[in-house]
């Protein structure tokens, strides 16, 4: 089952910590979002494999934007 990784809050993508095809476990860090000069990690919502990454470093994201998909 596919599950989406959502931005926890608005900001800029500071770091993409995974690549397509990586397998992740729940609570692994997949992105770091920068907001108000703070680096805030976004964690995987479930175990699985990263099937798609929709953003790159430096992109501005809004809260609840889909950042990646985990299969």
């Amino acid at each position: 089952m596919a599950q989406e990784v959502l931005a926890a809050l608005s900001g800029n993508i500071w770091k993409v910590s995974v690549e397509v095809g990586d397998s992740v476990e729940e609570d692994d860090e997949v992105f770091v979002v920068e907001a108000l000069k703070m680096e805030i990690p976004v964690y995987a919502p479930c175990d699985g494999t990263i099937s798609e990454i929709k953003v790159k470093k430096g992109d501005a994201v809004e809260e609840d934007d889909v950042l990646a998909v985990i299969e």
């Binding site: 809050l9 108000l36 703070m38 805030i40 964690y43």
Partner: protein, 361 residues
């Protein structure tokens, strides 16, 4: 020769100046302000320069036209308004109360300071330090108690820099682990139109209620209107960056230069730092406590940590909340929730200053 006019007092001021310069450069404590303030203190305590001689001195002119004429603090507020996103506040308007609660520190300290023998004007200026808001403190001090301006400004900016050290123990003491783990429900999304109307409506309401707050509120809301109108990006950018940087230079050096030995090396000044700190601590605590009280009456729980962001140190206090939130639960991002009370805190401190001006002037 100036060398023969050096007194022990001026030498002590040099030490204070060098300490601030050191803290600014190597500890990065509010360097944008403490660096020029530190240098201004040094200049003010070099004898026979005439820099602060009324009508003649270079820095006196900066001070007179910038601060006494109330030009610089409102210009800083223009920039702050252009930097502020009211979204987090509008999406959960009930969080405004937390920003208001934190002003309790200002008033409690006002009464405490009068009982220590300060005049009402001085006490108001000292109380306002509790908001940890530099430009508002300077604005009020210039009008009510110019002799305390330097000390109060340095106290306000120091506590702003020390937010990450002063606040967490208080917030930890007043909350349980379970409370710190509360995940808050998201508020509604705020549309562009609502954000556009807000600064206009807020200007009308606040200035009608507290006219004396107009210089700061008007400029703050104008900056915000620039930002939300989306049609004057150049002005928004100028207000946020170049203009803000320019006035910061003149603000810092002028504030520093008010701190000569005879003004600053008094017992009162220690009291000012102490009372300012008390104000700041009480402000933090009342914000947290009010959040806990509000939780008694609502099922949509508030994480009481965000009450600590009701003081107006933006965004330092909100960052502290974020850090403490993820410490309790690594997926609990409170940053944007905390920005609500934080911005309300800025407005709250300005309104508190306006009320003092109305009553005391």
């Amino acid at each position: 020769m100036g060398v023969f006019a050096v007194t022990p007092g001026t030498a002590v001021m040099w030490l204070i100046s060098l300490t601030l310069i050191y803290l600014a450069i190597s500890k990065k404590y509010e360097p944008l302000l403490l660096l020029p303030i530190g240098f201004g203190i040094l200049l003010a305590n070099l004898p026979l320069t005439g820099l602060m001689v009324p009508g003649e001195g270079l820095i006196w002119r900066f001070y007179h036209y910038g601060i006494e004429w109330e030009v610089i603090p409102p210009l800083i507020f223009l920039g702050l308004g252009a930097l502020t996103d009211f979204g987090p506040l509008l999406s959960q308007p009930r969080l405004i109360f937390l920003g208001a609660a934190a002003q309790a520190g200002v008033y409690v300290t006002f009464f405490a300071a009068t009982s220590f023998g300060f005049t009402l004007e001085e006490a108001a200026t000292i109380g306002i330090i509790g908001g940890a808001d530099g430009p508002t403190t300077i604005f009020l001090a210039a009008k009510l108690a110019p002799q305390l301006l330097g000390a109060c400004a340095v106290a306000a900016y120091s506590y702003m820099a020390l937010v990450p050290i002063i606040q967490p123990p208080i917030m930890r003491l007043l909350t349980t682990g379970n409370e710190r783990r509360i995940r808050m429900k998201k508020g509604r999304k705020i549309g562009a139109r609502e954000k556009l109307f807000f600064p206009i409506a807020a200007t009308i309401v606040i200035i009608l209620l507290v006219p004396a707050s107009a210089p700061l509120i008007a400029m703050f809301m104008l900056g915000n209107l620039f930002r939300e109108s989306k049609v004057v990006d150049r002005l928004t950018d100028a207000a946020q960056n170049s203009l803000m940087n320019i006035v910061t230079i003149f603000l810092g050096i002028s504030v520093g230069a008010t701190m000569n030995a005879e003004n600053f090396l008094r017992k009162d000044v220690l009291f000012i730092f102490f009372l300012g700190l008390v104000a700041f601590i009480i402000g933090t605590a009342t914000g947290v406590i009010l959040a806990k009280i509000m939780n008694l009456f609502t099922s949509n729980k508030i994480n009481p940590l965000i009450g600590g962001a009701g003081v107006s140190a933006v965004p330092m206090a909100a960052r502290v909340v974020q850090r403490m939130g993820v410490e309790a639960d690594k997926k609990n991002n409170l940053l944007m929730f905390a920005m609500g009370p934080n911005i309300a805190g800025v407005i709250g401190t300005v309104i508190a200053a306006g009320i003092f001006l109305t009553l005391l002037k």
